[in-house]
Symmetry: C2
């Protein structure tokens, strides 16, 4: 008999599982599905996995374990789950502070199964005193104490270890990346938290968030129009500009880097967080934006067949990109799906958690490109449509980004009643406002289903100052048709009818909310019961934040990026016909 | 029956082995102990492992294979061993150019079992043309073609891939580090070889070699007095200087870096090799020298118990150290054995190949520290003795480094007959000369066994101008006693007598040859038959070169560094007694 199965009762979950003698309690709790915080990766140095032992063997704690429990103010009946070895039947109670915290991913409150498990962690420890009899090098003592023989130590970190102020017997804080690389070593003092930066690197606008990596909470958010716009409004013009000569590529790169550094400066000033306490960043942008940010030549994106140079990148030194954060900070670039679908979409897909949901699902990101990903069970197919900048309010005579003052909702009631972001006086119309207005105009007869404006002056009046022109309507009409034909061809790829879709997730930074019934009435979205559709807003930003605070999310993103197959609409013979048929402002035909 | 054993006959070795159907020929040859060149790591892109198929199945070669064979001017009956699958009995003949080349490690011509297998390799290939239907990113095509999904690509390398000049269908050269990291990508043009730098970073002198990484051949060698000497002649004074303030550490670091860059400049000028074609460097120095070169604070080496900060380091970016080589070049620092025995000694041990030799062995490196490593079967024990700089000719009134003009051999024949390096007029005496002179002086009665000089003027005259003083003799006497007591305590550690030593390898940069009988007569080396002793010269430099051209040697060094146990002489109660007894210029007592 080498195995004695014991019973482990877990409160307050009221879960009972069997465990073998010699098993580590932490492993048993994980096996039972308890989301236990294993911040230090079961090295016994962080104290986060403490549990209360209500019944069963209670051996003396080790010296470090006792001091960690004492630090948390826990009583004598507490132990660290990562050090507790099963030796008999046991009843334990998990503590609120010992469980993983969920990440609030989407502003819309859609549930997420993700927990805070960042790549950057801060561990506290005291190095053992060396002696003449144990000639172990200081770095090797650190590796031993962190149970990490392959621990990566930069020369900067080694040099700090060599300074007597950080020598043996002094309390140290080690900032660890991915549980295997030391970013910094410093005296362990309270109040020095670790922060991260999430960036939605849009062609039009850049949004950044400062995030507390311990809790996953957003400390601040800042945004600005992408400073690269002065070199070209859209991706294609910027690729062309960069292709002209390497200096142009550098100009575009530094415009984005400088702007992000400025946004970081603003957030740091407002929140009181020093720049050098930002150790990790995630950037979600489209393929061209990612290439330019990394300073990678985009010649291959400028010339047919328009291939990306890279899809996924390993974490990069932030200093190499030019970000002014901690000198050893890392940047994770959300991976592209092959050449054509950007890392912003991968991030959005991760935030939408589409992969984890059963059945069929459609993810639509409405930006300059309409990106469409269709899922059936574990199969994914993706495409991009050239929707143009209409959904972002660009090229529309009175269009604007979804910023304060933008009309984001409108209702026809013998004239348009409009709502603006932050209730400011209306300055223009953003994407979601355009959908409402066109739907209302069709209902009221101001606009034909063919997109022709009735009446002599060919204008749809919104307010005294603001109106849409025939040209504006045509731009939206083309954008809607691009998305609609894309969705229909994707459905055809999997031989699915719209009615077979279990859910549709619509993402985009083009408004703070989207009227789904209007979107369906215009034919932008398939005609399915509205409860199957959700508008999840800026999913790229939410995804960037998720990738920042959850390492498992990075694994999901990388799997998605490699497994999604891509369909190029341009290579499909039925695309033109589908596109022309989609040029009517009307619901999807019921037959499909 | 899933396995059909076939016969593989290998010429010109006349070896016959059995192989299963489906096995790769290259694996079969390796299994048979044939040193086959697998330069591209069996990726089928370098063509180096070509063999002639004299009998047996001969399927058509793949397109790339055929072009590689054609490039080497080989006939239709040749195939690449890494692509040839066993499908029947076969007779193959290896070609001279398809076998690994041995490394000439030691100038003394001692044999070495090492083959040229450098960390940096240059592979030639042509990327496949992408299409709209295969949206693979360019970098992913490269990974696929190199059969290396985890291939590391720097942003600099990615950016080059993005430039159309290096795009698909153009012949590329990929400079690969450790078979998994791309250092550079360039148009594939002939004559662009890859070079490496081996550095013996001595406290007193720095010697550098420029090495062709494809062949292991030395292209040039250059040396100079360590420029750090102006901040302190010995290690302790430099550690103290660095400890005083961080600026001093930076001064010491840049003195060494600048000097090495100058030596590289000299060698590149002389050999016509551009600096940027040096992609890898190995540095072998003692613990303090390594720390200072890396800019790592040496506080812990300045204060008892004198611990190193690091023992082994991962390969570092050369630019981080400050070396002016290829921008992406790497530096491998020969690992320390724990805190007290430096990477120069590890390198020397690897060059001496002590680990591979059976039985017992003693390795003595005579420098400012006398480093002693004793091996019994697979056990190793090491110690350092403070020999002082006498063996390097320092602190001796007419002493000098082993450079042209130094007396390196001397014979007593009613006055000293001396030989100088390069036969120049004698300028002073180097370490090996001192040994000869003192041995001769004892034999002739000029010098007592207690180290007292006979005669009124207390001088040993060498030439008209040169003589040794009583103080000079005392310095050598202390140095010899330090080494001798160290050796005796090491032997005691393993309960071995000197007669049980199978071999003694004496290393040191203190002369171009050492008269072993004189070294034994003075008691510097144990009294064993002279054929058991070999003087191997500057083993640190030879070891640095070996680590540069042989990755397996790096693995040996790392294993040694972690498995050698260290004895601190200072902590042994019998050290003082042994030291005093060793102060006599005489052979080892026969009893031990």
């Amino acid at each position: 008999m080498t195995e004695t199965p014991f019973s482990v009762e877990i409160l307050p979950d009221n879960v009972k599982v069997r465990a073998r003698a010699g098993e580590v309690l932490a492993d048993v709790l994980l096996r039972a599905g308890i989301p236990l915080s294993l911040y230090c990766h079961q090295r016994g140095v962080c104290g986060k996995c403490a549990v209360r032992v209500l019944g069963g063997p209670l051996p003396f704690p080790a010296a470090l374990e006792a001091s960690l429990l004492e630090k948390r103010g826990l009583g004598l009946d507490h132990r660290l789950a990562c050090l507790y070895i099963i030796r008999g039947d046991v009843t334990v109670e998990t503590l609120p502070g010992s469980r993983l915290e969920s990440v609030a991913v989407l502003d819309t409150g859609l549930a997420s199964a993700a927990y805070v498990e960042p790549a950057v962690k801060k561990l506290s420890l005291v190095l053992e005193k060396p002696s003449l009899f144990s000639p172990t090098a200081v770095a090797d003592s650190l590796k031993g104490q962190l149970k990490s023989p392959g621990l990566g130590l930069s020369l900067a970190a080694l040099s700090k270890l060599g300074r007597s102020a950080l020598g043996p017997r002094r309390p140290l804080a080690v900032i660890l990346y991915d549980d295997r690389e030391v970013l910094d070593i410093e005296p362990d003092e309270p109040g020095r938290e670790v922060f991260g930066l999430a960036v939605d690197l849009g062609t039009t606008a850049i949004v950044a968030e400062l995030v507390d990596l311990r809790t996953g909470r957003i400390a601040d958010r800042a945004s600005a129009v992408n400073a690269q716009s002065s070199y070209g409004a859209d991706v294609v013009s910027r690729i062309t500009f960069a292709f002209e000569n390497p200096d142009n590529l550098r100009r575009l790169k530094s415009a984005a880097v400088q702007l992000i550094n400025d946004l970081v400066g603003t957030m740091c000033r407002r929140s009181g967080v020093p720049r050098h306490r930002i150790y990790d960043a995630v950037v979600a942008g489209n393929t061209a934006m990612n290439h330019i940010l990394c300073g990678v030549a985009v010649d291959s994106l400028a010339l047919a067949p328009f291939h990306a140079v890279f899809s996924a990148l390993p974490p990069l030194p932030a200093a190499e990109i030019g970000f002014a954060l901690h000198p050893q900070a890392r940047v994770y670039v959300s991976p592209n799906i092959k050449s054509f679908v950007g890392g912003d979409i991968t991030a959005g897909l991760v935030a939408a958690d589409l992969a984890a949901k059963p059945g069929t699902g459609l993810f639509i990101d409405l930006g300059t490109n309409g990106e469409i990903i269709l899922k059936r069970n574990s199969e994914f197919v993706a495409t991009s449509t050239a929707a143009g900048p209409a959904f972002e309010g660009m090229n529309i005579s009175c269009g604007m980004l979804a910023v304060p003052g933008a009309i984001y909702r409108a209702e026809w009631d013998n004239g348009f009643k409009v709502r603006t972001i932050d209730d400011l006086p209306p300055q223009g119309v953003c994407g979601t406002g355009l959908i409402d207005i066109l739907a209302g105009a069709v209902t009221s007869g101001l606009l034909g289903r063919d997109g022709r404006i009735a009446g002599p002056d060919k204008r749809i009046r919104l307010t005294e100052r603001l109106s849409l022109t025939q040209q504006d309507v045509r731009d939206v009409q083309l954008a809607v048709a691009a998305v609609r034909s894309g969705v229909r061809l994707m459905l055809r790829e999997f031989r699915l009818g719209a009615a077979e879709l279990d859910r549709i997730l619509v993402a985009g930074a083009f408004g703070s909310s989207l009227d789904l019934s209007n979107a369906v009435a215009l034919g932008l979205l398939p005609d399915v019961p509205l409860e199957k559709i959700a508008f999840i807003g800026n999913a790229s930003l939410a995804g960037a934040r998720l990738l920042l605070v959850s390492r498992p999310a990075r694994a999901v993103a990388e799997t998605l990026a490699s497994k999604v197959s891509h369909v190029s609409l341009a290579t499909r013979p039925d695309f033109q016909d589908e596109f022309v048929r989609a040029l009517e402002f009307d619901r999807y035909p019921k037959s499909e």
